[in-house]
Subunit: 253 residues, 2 copies
Amino acid sequence: MEAFFNRIRLMDKPVLYTCLSPALLNLYNVKNSIVVVIDILRATSTIATALYNGAKAVIPVDSVEKCMHLGKNMECITAGERDGKVAEGLQYGNSSFEYPRDFIEGKILVLTTTNGTRLLHMALTKGATEIITGSFLNLSAVCQHLVKMKTNVILACAGWKDKINIEDSLFAGAVVANIKSHFEMNCDASHIAESLYEQAKDNMFEFLKSNDASHYHRLTDFGLEKDIHHCLTEDLANVLPYYVDERLVVGKL
Amino acid sequence: MEAFFNRIRLMDKPVLYTCLSPALLNLYNVKNSIVVVIDILRATSTIATALYNGAKAVIPVDSVEKCMHLGKNMECITAGERDGKVAEGLQYGNSSFEYPRDFIEGKILVLTTTNGTRLLHMALTKGATEIITGSFLNLSAVCQHLVKMKTNVILACAGWKDKINIEDSLFAGAVVANIKSHFEMNCDASHIAESLYEQAKDNMFEFLKSNDASHYHRLTDFGLEKDIHHCLTEDLANVLPYYVDERLVVGKL
C-alpha cells in the first residue's frame, strides 16, 4: 500500500527534462512546458544583470540588422558583439559590466545574440507555456519559480551553433541538483548535467579552464576572464527574466 | 621557441570529437573521419561478442522485415528484439549470452537494431573514411586502432531515439580518457563524456542505477541485470568490428 501511494506521489509530480542542444529541442514536448533558455556566456547572464539593475525590458533579437532597426524606431540601447567586438552599428557589447544601475535603469536594452535568441524563438514557435531565462547570476530565482509553478520544465541549453557546451550544461546541472526532488525525471541528459555540476561546483572557473572549454578559450582570447568569473557566480542578479510581448521583463517569483 | 614546437606538435595531431546524439552528427565533418558507432545496451556489445566468438560477419539491418528477408535468402542467423522480446519472425535476441563460440563460430549473424544501425547508415551516407563499432567489451581494441590510424575521429553515440543516454556517453568518455593525448580536442562534449566516465568508472553499474539511467530501467524491467553487468565489463571480447561490404567483420588492429 505504501508503494502504491509512493507511486501516486511520483505521478503527481511534473517532469523535468534537460535539452543539451537546440538541435534536440524537437524531441521534447515543448507545448506543455516552461522552457528555461540557458546561454551562460553571456546572453542570459547579461539579461539577468540588466533587468536586476533596473532595465525596463530586454528585447532579444537575432541579428545586428534587427537590432539597428529597433534602435532607429524606439528609444533604446542597442547592444551586441560579433567576433568579440561591439558589432558595427551598435552601441554596446555583451558584458554584464557594461550595464550598471546608473546606466541601464529605466531603459530598454535591445540585445542581439545568436545561439540564445534563436533558441528562445524556437521555444516560442513550438508553443512553450512560458519562457524564462536562466544563468548562475539568477539561479535561485529560476529554481524558486520552477518549484512554485508545478509545471513540466525543459532546461534548454543554447550551446554553440548547436554543439553542446560545458557552461550551459553546468547550469542545467545546478538547477537539477537544486530542484530534482520536486520533479519526476526520466532523462539521462539531466543526470549527465547534474553529475558534471557536482564535479565542477567547487570551482567552476577552474573546471572550464582545465577542461579546455571551447567557449572559455573564445572569451579569454578576448581578455574576458573577469566576465567569465562573474557569469559563474550565483545569485548576483537574482531576478526572473520572463518573456512576454516580445521582450524579457522582471517576472513575479 | 619551445612554445612554437609545441604548437607544431599540436597541429600535427588528428582531431577527436564526441557526438552525443545521432541528431547532432551533421555538425561534424564525417567525411574525413573514422566514425566509432556506440550503442552499449546492447547492439555494439553483442556485435563485439559475436565476432569475438568467431562469427564470420554481423550484418546490421534496421528493420525486422529486412532481417527476415536476408534470413530467407542466405545462410544466416536472424536476431533482434522489440519490446524486450525476440521479434516475431526472428530466431534470437540481443543478448551477448546467446552467442557463445560453440553456437556462433563460422556463422553470419543478421542483427536488427534501431538506434545503432540507423547511426551506422548515417555515417555511411555521409561518407565516413571508416566505420567501426565500440563497446566496453572491446574498448582496448578500439583505442589501439584509433591511436594507430592517426586520423580524425568521431565518437558517435546512438542514444535512444536521438536522446542522449548515459551508457553511450560513458563509453565515449572512456575512449577519450584513454587516447586523448594522441589527439587535438576542441570539443566540449568530449570533456563532458570524460568527466562523466571519471566519476563513474569505479562502478559503472551502480552509477547507472543510482542515476536512474532510462535504459537501465528499460532493461532491468526485463530482468537483464546480468546483461548490463556484462556490457559494462572491459575487454571481454576484444576485437575490432570493422564495416566493409555492408557487414561488420573482424578488422586488423
